[in-house]
Amino acid sequence: MSKDYAYDAIIIGAGPAGIACAYTLAKNGKSTLVIERGNTPGSKNVTGGRLYTYALDMVDEGLAAEAALERKVTHEQIIILDGNRSISIDYHDPSFNSECKSPQSYTILRAVFDEWFANKAVELGATVACGIKVDGLIEKNGQVVGVVAGEDNIYAGIVIAADGVNSLIAQKAGLISDIKPHAVGVGVKEVILLPSVTIESRFNLKKDEGASCLMLGCTEGIHGGGFLYTNRESISLGCVFVVDELAGHGRQVHDIFQELKMHPTIYPLIEGGETVEYGAHLVSEAGYREFPKKPYKDGLLVIGDSAGFVISTGYSLRGIDLAMVSGIAAARAIIAEKDPVRVGPVYMNELEKNLLMPTMKAVDGYYDILEIPRIYSSYPKLAAGLFEKLFTVDGKVPRSMKKEIRGLIKQNGLSAWQLIKDGFRGVKSI
Amino acid sequence: MPGIFVYADTVEACASLISAAYGSARGVCALTFDEKRADELGGYGADKVFLLKGDNPMQESYAKAIAALLAKEGPEVFLVGSSTTGREIAAKVAMYLDCGLVGDISSLAFEGGKTITTRYIYGGAAIQTEVLDGYAVVTVPKGKFEARKYEGKTSDVITLKVESDNRVTLKETIPLEKDSKDLGAANIVVCIGMGFDKKEDMKIAEDLGRVLGATIGCTRGIVEERHWLPAGSYIGISGTTVKPSMYISLGVSGQIQHVVGIRDSKIIVAVNSNANAPIFMAADYGIVGDMYEIIPLLTEAIRDVKV
């Protein structure tokens, strides 16, 4: 009894990229079908859980104000861990981003947020089909004209790949190659339930306020870091490791993560909570330099993680906002240019106009600092050692600070020359 | 005569229901189709026995007739043995009499004029207590109550011709394979889970079962998906409930639908390679590890203590 279906646009994946695109297209009267393999949008996603809300307002003015969000981030913390020691830096600004209408970032739970966001697109007329995996693309004379899912073929004027990191669709279209181990991280995350009052007292938060916390030194020297976000009634705790280093390391991600949970600084924050969700997911660590030369081909645009729009700097991880911004760019290009063969360059132009490409280029240098392996083990040790000396009062005559530092540098297997070199690389890349 | 009416499709089940009702200090009246053994029921405490007679081999077909009898006799509660046949009769009778029905209870009590039942819901995650005020039907799982004999007690057997509904006709009866029958009554149960990779691997579990004198049971997937063991071998909410002195699970994750069927076990032992498997929360003793190594060791160790 099935009829033949044809849409103006088919979007593969109901993540933030796909939904932002669908929302914009549907709002502009395009018949839009989003296909998601999870049983509900967000059900298959693993993410840290912080959203920079400017992106939502870019999708539609005022959208951030009604979104399904958890807590506004007013505490930005960095914790440097070494063994059982730690240094915490807490930047608190209760009116964070007060000049804007909405605070700059919120913690979110993707299962809740994605479903809310998808429903918004449905209200505007988009169709979201869940529980369906797209297996491939239909091409005619080198142009993508539809998708294949199981036994069904569905056609569209244009197809948008928003299927996330390591995009099968972009690979099938020949736009990206298989994943490179050094350019991808694996993230693990747990959601730990705690009463909201407990969260507020442990993190020193007012009601609705939230903390974002990034951790260095928790990855056993592997390129990566940890994160912790406070939701209303849960904590999202996780870490990210670069895949190829992990392979050489001989330890399971899961074990390192369990140790992080038991760290004397972290454990009191999650104590008594119950883990209700555990997930692992890939994260693109590549940045601009690994960005596909052409995130499009005739009849196909690639957005979000599928195209590599992620900025991972160690002190922040941005992917959700960039995914949305790229989704908007794709939608605007499709609205402006009817010809599926000419829409690709228009999309590139939109990415420039809405500042996504310039942002990717600007932060590219950060990757130079992040590639210094010492950041993930020796420097946390050095810093922790330094603080230990600073705070130790034992009645003896204190040694000069200079001597202490020199001793610590040596003790941690570093040379002054390396320090200078790394410092220089840091300055250069900023 | 008001009081409690009981019906089950075997004399044994019927006897256990009579014992359950006997303590209520109300009259107990048993319904049976078993002509040969109807007079035994008095010895279990029935004050009156109705021997129902009809030509249809399917006892389900007499639901309407039973409802009519109950309507006439006006009992307070109708206890039914929870078999496929019993459940169908119970549900239809409850509808004909427009009364409540609590199915597959895990406990039963009579308080004043009321009947208090508990039963599992949400696959066994929760337990619900219901109060039945007057007229109600309750189905009781097999073996829930022990049948008791009362020396010298007998009762009248009243034979009653009953009408059947012949719209459903029986064409063929195929007995189930023998070995799956006594699982519910087994004293020791070894349970095979989906953690087994191949059918041949079940041998190590069977060896363990042999030294223990255990009956082999399994989880649903072993029967329904893999067809390794006959229907009737699986334990759980949609399978058999076991109540052995010891139950040992091998490669069973311990999902609630399975666990609900093992809760009456005296001791529960679990072997699973995943330390987070929920079976450990249901177990008295757990070993985290590869069962392919552990089972042969356990078989040896038990053989040693047995000789």
């Binding site: - | 199915g103 006709t169 949609s238 010891m246 757990g286």
Partner: protein
């Protein structure tokens, strides 16, 4: 066209319910789903409809929340869906549910076969099917693990406790099916898209001639709490597997089970 009616229930997904430490149950995060067994009932209706050239339809009784189920049900193939919407469904027992479904079946009319699952995955009360048959005075076959329709006759295989039976009945009839009756397929993309175009009809109780009093439950729920396991929960933590086994056996001997 004659209809085959599959009844289903929109239930709380037991995987999402949380047990609080004091034994109360938290449903606040729980989502709904079509009761697992009912997916087989719907698929059975699809196969039956195809074999006799009838039209399969889905029927549910539920609160406003059950609206979410309609599309899901239609995705599984039925041509249209019917929903008796009443808040009384929240507390309905088998008696109330069967009355509502039976009256809705009459209202839908022109049916050859009604298919229920043996029980719902939340209460698993196993009574609604035969109750509906009793109310509609239909032949009833429970515990069905396979069936076939030829002309006006259904032949079914039933699973009983110690035997299997093959039985026959004339249509119209009601059957309640076990999950092994078929494998419910995961709906494909076109099935999902088709569902959006199918008709759903909503009934209120008065539309099917019932009042709130008719659907009052016949049993009173006094208490409802989490089942708390009371077990030793000893994880044997010796170094080697051999030592673990030794310790286990020692414990089992102490407990007197071997």
């Amino acid at each position: 066209m004659a209809k085959i009616i599959a009844c289903y229930k929109w239930v709380t997904d037991e995987a999402d319910i949380r047990i609080n430490s004091e034994g109360s149950i938290d449903f606040s995060k729980a989502k709904g789903k079509i009761s697992d067994y009912d997916k087989n009932a719907i698929e059975a209706a699809m196969q039956a409809a195809q074999s006799i050239g009838a039209s399969a339809v889905a029927l549910t009784f539920g609160t406003a929340k059950a609206k979410l189920s309609l599309k899901d049900a239609l995705t599984r193939g039925p041509a249209e869906s019917f929903w008796v919407c009443s808040e009384s469904a929240e507390k309905a027992d088998g008696a109330a549910t069967a009355k509502v479904l039976a009256e809705a079946v009459k209202k839908i009319g022109d049916y050859r076969l009604i298919i229920c699952a043996e029980g719902a995955s939340d209460t698993y009360a196993r009574q609604v099917g035969p109750r509906i048959a009793a109310r509609l005075d239909l032949p009833c076959i429970t515990s069905v693990r396979g069936f076939e329709i030829q002309g006006d006759v259904i032949t079914a295989t039933r699973k009983l406790d110690n035997r299997t039976e093959v039985v026959k009945a004339g249509l119209p009839a009601l059957i309640s099916v076990l999950p092994e009756v078929n494998e419910a397929p995961i709906p494909g993309l076109k099935a999902v898209l088709d569902a959006g175009k199918k008709r759903s009809t909503e009934f209120k109780l008065q539309d099917i001639g019932l009042t709130d009093a008719d659907v009052a439950p016949r049993t009173e729920v006094r208490d409802f709490k989490a089942y708390i396991m009371n077990r030793k929960n000893i994880i044997i933590s010796a170094d080697t597997n051999a030592d673990k086994v030794k310790e286990l056996v020692a414990n089992l001997r102490k407990d007197g089970v071997i």
